[in-house]
Amino acid sequence: MRGKRMDGRERILTGRHIRAVYGKQSLDTLRNKAILLQFLIFPLMALILEYGVEIPGMEEHYFVHLFAVMFLGMAPLTAMSALLSEEKETHTLRMLHLAGVTSAEYLLGAGGSLLTISLLGAVSFGAIGGFGGMTLLRFLAAMTAGIFISLLLGGAIGLTAKNQSAATSVTVPVMMIFSFLPMLAMFNDAVAAAAKFTYTGQIHRFLCGAQAGESPWMFPAVLLGNALAAALLFAWAYRHA
């Protein structure tokens, strides 16, 4: 693997740099209360409502599915965007670059750390739902794909934003759309028709088993399409930044 250097020439990625950034990011996220709260609040709400609320006719694991999708649409996206914009604003990113850390090494280290924390969140949802075996694997696979897309979107926003407030002003509407659309789709057919084409909408339908009558290719196609769009956006932002 090769990464781009600040002077534009290519050079090999260094594992030591990636590990250093990974460790830094893990510590920093654990101490960033505002970000950490997002990773904790959704599993906590799912836990309380899953075991505390019972509504006749409600589908099984309704709250786990709902909050898991909200979690993947919100927490990784906000965390990645906040992280990048903060590093730019406080000039820590510049110090890392001047110490020889390439952009690719940084993104792998910081993104890898956020992916790990997000996956821990996903595992906790699986535990709250009491999933096991294939159900758990399917759940985690869908969550991983969604978290990855959210990280790409958050990264694109963070890379293009000049500072944290600029990043927040873009992040909030984007995460609202992706995290709340699946819930709103339950109340409105037009919203449901649109939500079908978003990764969060599809993951929610997949988790709830609400794909009756749909092509079996719909789920992977939408996820792939969303991932491709997010990756292109990220690549553009990366070059732009």
Partner: protein
């Protein structure tokens, strides 16, 4: 190789006719100078003079439109990890991780450079932050943050240090601690590239200074020499113990009188009319350095 020999033979920084424009605005005009190993070089100029642009060109963050900037003999646009590992920086924005502790900040960069964590501990003690190693950076004072940034810059034992206003806004005791550290680094043979508004600091620390005005280097040389060059009056003020103030030409004509006063123990104080760097800058540009 002795420090003195390095001083004479190795230029850590070489600038040849460097020019830079942003749009139609010429930010740097034909800047030429060099900084040798073991030298403290001060770049002086008011805000907007082009100091930061020059540092960014030197560190490979910007490219020059014309001319050449070289670090350790390598063009600044082609710096590799090797050269970056040989330089340390403290910029105006310190770039410290506020939620991490002093120790964790240094450990991060020690891991990046592949050096032992104990080096970080040693430097924390050296900058008098040993007792605060576990403190998160957001609980430190400005002076402590400056010292932590300096410790980070010294992690690799750099041969070249870039320092942007390292003592700006600090109390005299903290500033003195930083000056002491810089002297130690100079004695080790490191070159120090300092940008500052503080004339006293520049005159005290620097072997050479350059006065930058609207992107142009208007004066360059040892601070004492520059001040003597602009000592147009060339006079000495002698205050006697009885309160009398005598004004003598500094050309030998007042030597007898001076000797007589000294013999009779009548001298309260002696001052020369040699200007300070601020006055020289004002004379050259018509404005002050803090303007």
């Amino acid at each position: 190789m002795s420090v003195e020999h390095m001083r004479q033979s190795v230029n850590c920084i070489e600038l040849y006719h460097v020019e830079k424009s942003f749009g139609r605005q010429r930010v740097l005009k034909d800047v030429t100078c060099s900084v040798a190993a073991g030298e403290i070089f001060g770049l002086l100029g008011p805000s907007g003079a082009g100091k930061t642009t020059l540092v960014k060109i030197l560190t490979g963050q910007l490219s020059a439109d014309r001319g050449e900037a070289r670090l350790f003999g390598v063009s600044s646009g082609r710096l590799s990890r090797r050269e970056y590992g040989r330089m340390g920086m403290v910029m105006d924005e310190l770039g410290l991780y506020e939620r991490l502790s002093c120790r964790e900040n240094l450990r991060l960069f020690a891991r990046i450079y592949g050096i032992s964590h104990s080096r970080g501990e040693e430097l924390l003690r050296r900058v008098d932050l040993g007792d605060f190693a576990g403190f998160p950076v957001n609980r430190l004072s400005k002076g402590m943050k400056q010292r932590l940034a300096l410790a980070r810059a010294l992690l690799t034992g750099p041969r070249l240090l870039f320092l942007d206003e390292p003592t700006s806004g600090l109390d005299p005791s903290t500033a003195a601690k930083i000056h002491r550290l810089l002297r130690e680094e100079q004695e080790r043979g490191a070159a120090i590239f300092l940008t500052t508004h503080n004339m006293e600091e520049a005159a005290k620390l620097c072997n050479n200074v350059a006065l930058l005005h609207q992107g142009e280097m208007v004066e360059y040389g040892p601070p004492g020499e520059i001040c003597r060059r602009y000592n147009h009056q060339n006079e000495i003020f002698l205050r006697k113990k009885d309160g009398t103030l005598l004004r003598l030409k500094n050309d030998g004509s007042g030597a007898d009188l001076l000797q007589a006063c000294a013999r009779e123990n009548q001298i309260e104080s002696i001052h020369s009319t040699e200007p300070d760097l601020e006055t020289v800058f004002m004379e050259l540009t018509g404005r002050g350095l803090l303007a």
